[in-house]
């Protein structure tokens, strides 16, 4: 089973990925291909390894075995060491945007500076040019008027939208979302979801870890259910959410659909 059609180029490839924390095996051979412009949602109960998988994609976690590729380039390179690997991974990461559950905005920088820091320092963009770009991205997440404000003055939803703008400003090939709305008050979830829907419309390749089934069903091209470090089931959202093959998927969905209002 795969989302690929013959014409799709794979943007992210996860091949037989294994990861252990000490004796605890958290990823037990995960495979997933995300074609360019497609959106994959990863769901699963707490501790199933979703975050670890997502973090492995941009090497915030170092995998023990397997291969991860971004646009054909291998991300993990056990053969590379020291500074050479540093250069390699920093370059790779510039092409991947990551959005965290707790936003992780830089509190010492204004909203605009949060967005422009990476383009200026990593791409050598002039301040003026970077700020134009930064304002454009803030505008896209609906926060043009907050450019000069510091993060501590923003609501959770606004913070997360700035975090998305910050990642987008590097013009990444793929966006990784790790429970982007889990830390938000319920009434702030929708504004962040809206931004993500906009990205979907623009055919951004996305890997989304989420507990929001309705959103996942709506926005994704492919859904994947993880448990205990393995992929239990995956498929198109229609099939996956309305008629899953596996009992464990059904149980999980039943619990989660009933707990959502």
């Amino acid at each position: 089973m795969t989302i690929e059609t013959k014409t799709d180029t794979p943007m992210v490839e996860i091949v037989n990925v294994h990861k252990k924390f000490g004796d605890l095996e958290v990823l037990k051979g995960i495979n997933l291909t995300v074609p360019k412009g497609k959106i994959v949602s990863i769901i699963g109960s707490s501790g199933s390894g979703k975050s670890t998988l997502l973090r492995s994609v941009n090497h915030l976690e170092v995998i023990d075995d397997g291969v991860i590729r971004l646009d054909g380039v291998q991300v993990n390179r056990p053969d590379m060491k020291g500074l050479a690997f540093e250069r390699h991974i920093n370059h790779i990461r510039q092409n991947m945007g990551m959005v965290f559950q707790h936003f992780n905005l830089f509190p010492h920088l204004s909203t605009l500076d949060n967005v422009t820091l990476a383009p200026r320092k990593l791409k050598g963009m002039a301040r003026k040019e970077a700020e134009e770009l930064g304002r454009e991205y803030l505008n896209r997440v609906g926060l043009a008027d907050k450019a000069d404000v510091y993060p501590s003055r923003l609501s959770g939803g606004q913070k997360q939208r700035v975090a998305i703008a910050r990642a987008l400003a590097m013009q990444p090939k793929v966006m990784l979302f790790d429970e982007a709305t889990s830390a938000l008050d319920p009434e702030l979830v929708e504004e962040v979801n809206l931004v993500m829907r906009d990205l979907a419309k623009e055919h951004m390749t996305m890997l989304i870890v989420t507990h929001e089934m309705a959103f996942a069903r709506d926005v994704s091209d492919w859904a994947m259910f993880m448990e205990g470090g393995v992929v239990v089931e995956e498929g198109t959202p229609d099939k996956f959410f309305s008629n899953p093959d596996h009992e464990r998927t059904r149980n999980f969905l039943r619990k989660h659909l009933s707990s959502q209002h």
Partner: protein, 223 residues
């Protein structure tokens, strides 16, 4: 109380106070360098260097400053380490405060939550860039405060270098008492001068602290 005498010796004590300030500033600047090296060695993933750094800090913290001073000044020549008293005062002060400062700096760096580091790395910043643009600006406030406390301890400890006859404030005071037999007047003046120096340091630290943590109170970016 002999006020005339106090007026008379004040210029001499002020002159000596400058030596106290001089020796302290040099020791703090040099000590900061020592601390940075220690933090750097500790951060490398090379066990012997980590052990060295930790061991060094333990030895300094486990022995009195006074003994360190005597050991280097009187014991140093035995292993070919001969210094004039002023240099010795600076060096022992620097290597002493450096150990404490390295712990303060490490603590401040570690106080920045790990999510900041991850956010920076995920954008493609390297370790050094992450340190410069993300971690240091956030650690600076705490770092300044804890280094400030250490600097004050150093200023006060500098009175101990009178034992190796550096003509700083305390030494000068003792010398003047030797010729005037007025310990009350002269030590009172000496104490006042230490207070002035210490409060000046506290003031500078506070200003620097406010500057470094200004972002926490700012609503809007200043152009």
């Amino acid at each position: 109380m002999d006020v005339n005498l106090m007026v008379e010796v004040t210029p001499l004590l002020i002159k000596a106070a400058w030596i106290t300030i001089d020796i302290s500033i040099r020791a703090i600047i040099l000590g900061f360098g020592v601390a940075c090296v220690l933090v750097f060695l500790r951060s490398l993933q090379i066990k012997p260097l980590q052990w060295f750094s930790r061991g060094y800090v333990s030895v300094i913290r486990g022995t009195p400053y006074f003994v360190q001073l005597l050991l280097v000044f009187y014991g140093g020549p035995t292993i070919g380490l001969t210094m004039d008293p002023f240099t010795c005062g600076v060096m022992v002060g620097a290597f002493n405060i450096g150990a404490y400062m390295s712990e303060a700096i490490r603590g401040a760096l570690e106080s920045v939550e790990s999510g900041q580091n991850e956010a920076s790395r995920s954008l493609g910043f390297g370790r050094l860039q992450t340190l410069t643009y993300v971690v240091l600006p956030q650690a600076a406030g705490l770092m300044i405060r804890s280094v400030g406390v250490l600097a004050i301890v150093l200023v006060k400890n500098s009175s101990l270098v009178s034992i190796i006859s550096v003509v700083e404030l305390t030494y000068q005071a003792q010398r003047l008492i030797g010729s005037t037999y007025k310990p009350f007047e002269i030590f009172t003046l000496t104490a006042v001068m230490y207070i002035c120096i210490v409060y000046a340091v506290m003031g500078i630290v506070e200003l620097a602290y406010r500057r470094a943590t200004r972002y926490t109170t700012l609503v809007k970016r200043v152009q």
